[in-house]
Subunit: 117 residues, 2 copies
Amino acid sequence: MLIRVDPGSGVAIYDQIAASVRAAAARGALRPGERLPAARELADALDINIHTVLRAYQDLRDEGLVDLRRGRGAVVTEAASRGAPILEAVRALVAEARNEGVGAQTLISLIREEYPA
Amino acid sequence: MLIRVDPGSGVAIYDQIAASVRAAAARGALRPGERLPAARELADALDINIHTVLRAYQDLRDEGLVDLRRGRGAVVTEAASRGAPILEAVRALVAEARNEGVGAQTLISLIREEYPA
DNA sequence: TCAGTTGTAATAGTGAAACTAGAACAATAG
DNA sequence: CTATTGTTCTAGTTTCACTATTACAACTGA
């Protein structure tokens, strides 16, 4: 399964689902035009409520990464593939951070502080 | 004040405090050996509860970024300054991401997925 | 030694948010 | 026309952030 979830990770389940999709699209495992699993189907597979899945899908729609249509499902947009070019840069940065002994929390905090500016 | 907080930002207050400290240490605004404001003092200044501040300080301690001692306060460690060397790389990555139309959520999702591996 | 400062811990209450549950409905596909 | 799939609504439970208060223990500095 492309999408996995860890209930006790501290991160909200709908956020983990959305993050899985963002990352999968960035690395090309999900391509524009492809469909995500139907919400009911994914909820069943992960043994969670359909509303939790829908919340994730709606967040992704708000970010412009998927189109949602009744009867059709959640379709990956072109925008979702834009992450691909920066994947290598991300991997390099993470490697450097780990090398310096910089934790994930610090790295994420730095990104959050730099992004809006 | 070095540490600011936005109650309606969606991010937990204790997380915003911890993030402020991580970032401040990375850019050298907080140096190893320096003391953070006393928990009661900061709680007063930000008009929040002392426990909320302590939660942030304890998270930072768990990450090894500060030492906590009664009577002495929260002292920044050497580890907290390790973020400095990667600051430029972070800025470059963020600039590239913005340029490609990649949102903050996607960037953070990618980092989270790449980090543990 | 002693008083003041500071983090630690325990208990408890409030409010918001995540998650679940079930049902009915509307748009699309085939 | 039927099955599929997202949308909406109501509602209940649970978890967690946050607040509040009190007492305590370790350390500092005079």
